[in-house]
């Protein structure tokens, strides 16, 4: 299990504390937030189940979550939204070593080790 920065741990906690209704998909962190103590922004990956959330509606539906994270963390959020099919095809999570914060259906994320 890789180590992530203390800041990533703080952001993880903030995201986990947000209301359930904001989560329209699985949420990952990736990019400099995982390794840096002073990132310029937060890279967030949202993975939607395209059978439940139409891709054409995904950005609009994700706006409350994006805004809530930006306000709480006080960093600009750079949001990438993929369907489950696109994620599987692209292997993006493995490629960028993204950290799963929470799934849409569960508030219990996998454990991860923080530095």
């Amino acid at each position: 299990m890789p180590n992530f920065s203390a800041l990533a741990g703080i952001v993880r906690g903030i995201i986990l504390a947000l209301p359930d209704e904001l989560f329209v998909g699985d949420v990952y962190l990736f990019g400099s937030i995982l390794n840096s103590s002073s990132p310029n922004d937060i890279d967030v990956l949202l993975v939607i189940n395209e059978d439940i959330v139409p891709p054409a509606e995904a950005y609009k539906l994700s706006m409350p979550l994006s805004k809530a994270i930006e306000v709480q963390v006080n960093l600009k959020l750079d949001l990438t939204i993929l369907t489950r099919t696109e994620l599987e095809k692209s292997k993006f999570v493995a490629l960028v070593n993204a950290l799963l914060i929470r799934t849409q259906s569960s508030r219990s994320p996998p454990s991860c080790q923080m530095r």
């Binding site: 054409a56 990438t80 939204i81 993006f92 960028v96």
Partner: protein
């Protein structure tokens, strides 16, 4: 939205790179930039194109639909950035929306094709 600001985090250097590529392209007669990242391109002996330039780590359907909704009338979404990629099913998306989605390097080649967005 006038030139100078966009909600897609496309920086000035990316816009300059793209405009320089269009200026040098043998198939491009002239073009106009609006809304900072939308390009109306007139091609020599080929159809005109309305193109939006984005820069997504991984460009999927959600982002593509967002571009279509924000910039009505676009025919092509071009994804710049050497480390970025298009991950949606381009053929399926084209059938659904009549919009082409391409990485930048493929778009510059497609500009030569008279059947592209004909």
């Amino acid at each position: 939205m006038p030139n100078g600001k966009n909600s897609w985090d496309i920086g000035y250097s990316e816009i300059v790179f793209f405009t320089n590529a269009l200026n040098a392209h043998q198939a491009v007669d002239h073009f106009a930039r609006t809304e900072d990242i939308v390009f109306d391109i007139s091609r020599l002996g080929r159809s005109s194109l309305r193109v939006v330039l984005v820069s997504e780590y991984r460009l999927g359907e959600a982002a593509a639909y967002r571009a279509i909704q924000e910039f009505p009338g676009i025919q092509v979404i071009v994804n710049s950035g050497n480390w970025n990629a298009v991950v949606l099913d381009r053929n399926s998306f084209r059938r659904q929306t009549k919009v082409e989605v391409l990485p930048l390097k493929n778009f510059l080649g497609a500009l030569n094709d008279p059947d592209f967005c004909a």
